[in-house]
């Protein structure tokens, strides 16, 4: 195991040791003294949008929507013994998750961490995928997919994705439609595993009260043989503008659910630039729509929005969009009001007083936001998968200016880039 570098951040009170296993797997160890649980998170950049790719061997592969999520389920079945049983025997907590561009697996254990690490590295690196096992899992996944289908927020956000994007695969839900789940085969899942679950693509983060040298030695001992080569993701071309100004859908809701999106024309790849865009986007959304904003107050007092209003910014290498949602008796009033508030911020610009106040709040939240080993491991893994320096958000905050936020507000809140999705009863 080759230790590559160490990062110490006195503002956060955290330290991270980065290393690389002989098979290319990137590893980070975050010592947190005095905590009982040790957490291990392993992840890779392979998610629900990766349904068409050129394998490292050169074959063009197309798999059903939801394949990354289905594969995650199958990995938990283990090779000889169910992962549930193995983790259960040591009392560990565990789970996994599939996003648009990544999949991760984690466990946390207060004792017998070494055994847990054996289990994690075993099932993520050496699955057994058979037609019988795949067929058996379909009923479980269908129930999971159907539970999401009954959720108005879930339906609404994907309706908005379809309004914002013409071809981009984030139009599809990570679990895939029931029909896609039903047509998934063992060969599909094996092809995905072979193409993407290569050791040098894995990122492993360990956090807790552990001995760095010992745990790195264990990881090295568990590393499977290197399998060089990378799959090439084949995404459809995506226009720079939204697919539709508005999409409407009938759903069982007591009041209309309204979703508004502003999409960036393109992504900024991964790394520092993307992080900066994410932070500035989140701050301008706060400045326009947080309870501390006079624009929010105006919307609230005039009944254009209520406490159901929420917002966020989401991005990856080739997309970025702001989302605002809420419940409204009159969706038109809601949409008009929110657009007015965002436009107003862009026109007025960000005042130095507001900027300093919101920066101070963000600084406090970032410094104190990561407290447990699990939260630290998850945060560091996310940074590694996005090729960003963990804790760089503090440097960005220090470096920002109110003018930069004004420019970002003007760029982001471009009406020509916006879409609306409404769930009506």
């Amino acid at each position: 195991m080759n230790i590559t570098h160490t990062l110490k951040d006195p503002r956060m009170g955290e330290e991270i040791i980065f290393a690389e296993a002989s098979n290319g797997m990137q590893v980070a160890v975050c010592p947190k003294r005095g905590f009982s649980a040790v957490s291990a998170h392993v992840g890779l950049r392979f998610g629900s949008t990766d349904t068409r790719f050129r394998s490292p061997e050169g074959a063009i592969v197309e798999v059903p929507d939801g394949s990354a999520h289905f594969l995650e389920h199958k990995l938990f079945e283990g090779r000889d013994e169910k992962v549930f049983d193995r983790f259960g025997a040591i009392g560990a907590q565990f789970n996994g998750g599939t996003g648009f561009r990544s999949t991760n697996y984690w466990f946390a254990s207060s004792g017998r961490f070494g055994e847990g690490l054996d289990i994690l590295m075993d099932f993520v690196q050496s699955p057994l995928i058979t037609p019988e096992r795949v067929e058996k899992e379909k009923g479980i996944i269908v129930q999971e997919v159907r539970s999401y289908e009954d959720s108005a927020p879930y339906r609404g956000i994907f309706l908005l994705h379809r309004a914002m994007y013409t071809n981009h695969p984030i139009r599809m839900t990570p679990g895939g439609a029931v029909s896609e789940v039903q047509r998934t085969t063992a060969d599909d899942l094996q092809a995905c595993f072979d193409a993407f679950y290569r050791p040098h693509q894995l990122r492993l983060v360990l956090a807790g009260d552990l001995i760095v040298d010992d745990v790195l030695a264990q990881v090295e001992a568990l590393a499977v043989e290197a399998r060089p080569g990378d799959a090439e993701r084949l995404y459809p071309d995506e226009p720079t503008g939204p697919a539709a100004a508005q999409l409407d859908e009938t759903f069982s809701v007591s009041r209309p659910h309204v979703w508004m999106g502003w999409r960036d024309k393109d992504g900024l790849g991964l790394g520092a630039q993307a992080l900066r865009r994410r932070i500035t986007s989140s701050l301008v959304l706060d400045l326009a729509l947080d309870v501390s904003s006079p624009l929010h107050e105006e919307l609230y007092l005039t009944g254009q929005t209520d406490d159901s209003l929420s917002y966020h910014y989401s991005s990856d290498s080739d997309w970025g969009h702001a989302v605002v949602s809420g419940l409204a008796d009159d969706p038109e009033v809601f949409v008009k009001g929110v657009r007015w508030a965002c436009q107003r911020l862009a026109e007025q610009g960000v005042s130095e007083v507001d900027f300093q106040r919101i920066k101070r709040a963000s600084w406090g939240n970032v410094v104190s936001g990561i407290q447990t080993p699990g939260a630290l491991a998850g945060t560091v893994l996310n940074s590694m998968l996005n090729e960003q320096e963990p804790f760089a958000v503090l440097d960005v905050l220090n470096d920002l200016t109110s003018d930069e936020l004004t420019l970002r507000a003007r760029e982001l809140f471009d009406t020509a880039q916006s879409s609306v999705a409404i769930l009506h009863s």
Binding site: A37, F84, I140, Q143, S254, R357, N365, Q371
Partner: protein
């Protein structure tokens, strides 16, 4: 790593006011909660509407925006008021969190300003211009919003199913009442009702204050004494200690089906039991519930999900204060009879034959891990000690672990024998078969 052996300090700082402090410098943020407990009585609607009204501003900070800005200035501190059901109590909570002093610039501290904000919200609300208790326009706006929220509750099918299940299973008990009341009771409230509710919360409720994290207990005690002890603005000699929740015996098994448009049906199955005073029996009950359906090691998960592929998740949990075991799952409506029979079969088997040693070992391993991890976050520590206080047990995780290790197969069987099937509830789409 050892189990947490130390208890927090728990002291009465005034009649009916308990302060629980657990300083821990490992954490970066303080978790601070003041619970005001009242019975789940008719006044709960007034309390529920009062809370958003109070959060619209204070005499000193007349706009909600002013309160939000004060929190941002305070390095992103957070606060909120909420109400929930705890056993048969209606619990109003003032909840706050802020960055510990050691992570702030030299000389900065958030404690005093956060307590001040909490006091302002509860004690110095915005009054009407003509001497009304609250501004009428503001009350009407928040009332309309609360009514809309009540009307929207069925949109969240799992939460709605649980609420309906509790209303039916506990029809004549306080536990079956929703914490917010009904649209009609909210619509009928007057401004004076809200003021009476505010004064009742401050003057009559049983108060529990929980502070965990990077705190100085003496500073917390000083601030809370200034607020609640003699001479403080919320000092009262009329606080009422809430009665323990009722734990009635089971009815003959009842089955209810209700319909709402849905792709997936929600299934809930409630059992009753009489909680034991005996420490070993309590742990046996917890482990029995875990063996039945406490997670991926539970029998229900293994059989209904893994063997029969009938559900993505199926779990059982105890409502300890009420003496209830509740099984919950999202399923195909047509699978409901099969799932119900399997639950009954497994409960019967556990009570007649007990678990296998391996099942008990897994349940104990899971419990040990959870008890060890209690000390790893300020919020889980706060939740743990708050629950121990509610139960009036104040067991350390270490003590619970020692007791749990002594539980036998026979005691699991005896615990399962106490479960009496009471209510099966299914919320399904109109076109779905049962």
């Amino acid at each position: 790593m050892a189990y947490l052996q130390s208890s927090p300090s728990r002291q009465s700082i005034a009649p009916g006011v308990t302060l629980i402090c657990l300083p821990d410098a490992r954490f970066k943020r303080v978790v601070f909660q003041v619970h005001f407990d009242r019975p789940m009585c008719e006044q709960r609607s007034a309390r529920t509407l009062l809370l958003p009204v109070l959060q619209q501003g204070t005499e000193q900070r007349p706009r909600r925006m002013d309160v939000a800005r004060a929190l941002e200035e305070n390095y992103g501190s957070q606060l909120g008021l909420g109400a929930t059901r705890v056993g048969e109590r209606h619990r109003v909570t003032f909840r706050a969190s802020w960055v510990g002093d050691s992570f702030l610039p030299e000389g900065e501290s958030c404690l005093a300003s956060m307590v001040q904000l909490g006091k302002e919200l509860l004690e110095s609300p915005l009054r009407g211009e003509n001497g009304e208790a609250f501004r009428a326009d503001l009350v009407e706006r928040e009332r309309a919003q609360l009514i809309r929220q009540i009307e929207s509750l069925p949109d969240d099918r799992p939460s709605w199913a649980e609420e309906r299940f509790l209303a039916l299973m506990c029809k004549d008990e306080a536990y079956g009442r929703s914490p917010w009341g009904t649209k009609e009771t909210v619509a009928a409230l007057t401004v004076d009702d809200l003021e009476r509710a505010r004064q009742d919360i401050l003057g009559h409720s049983e108060v529990t204050i929980v502070a965990v994290g990077p705190i100085e207990p003496s500073a917390i005690e000083q601030e809370m004494s200034r607020w609640f002890a003699e001479g403080g603005s919320a000092y009262s000699t009329e606080r009422e200690i809430c009665a323990p929740a009722s734990t009635p015996h089971a009815h003959a098994l009842r089955e209810f089906r209700e319909e709402l448009p849905a792709d997936q049906a929600r299934f809930l199955f409630g059992f009753r039991y009489q909680p034991s005073e005996n420490a070993l029996s309590r742990e046996a009950m917890a482990l029995a519930a875990s063996i039945l359906g406490g997670g991926s090691q539970g029998r229900l998960f293994r059989i209904i999900r893994e063997e029969l592929s009938l559900a993505y998740g199926i779990y059982s949990g105890l409502r300890t204060l009420k003496g209830m075991l509740v099984v919950e799952a999202g399923i195909d409506a047509k699978a409901a009879p099969r799932v119900k029979e399997e639950v009954l079969t497994q409960v019967r088997d556990l009570s007649e034959n007990g678990p296998k040693q391996g099942e008990l070992d897994l349940a104990i391993a899971g419990l040990m891990n959870n008890l060890q991890a209690v000390g790893d976050s300020a919020s889980s520590l706060a939740a743990y000690w708050e629950r121990e206080h509610d139960l009036d047990l104040m067991r350390t995780p270490s003590a619970r672990a020692e007791t749990a290790k002594q539980v036998t197969l026979q005691q699991i069987s005896e615990a399962a024998q106490l479960w009496q099937a009471d209510t099966v509830y299914l919320l399904a789409g109109p076109e779905q078969e049962a």
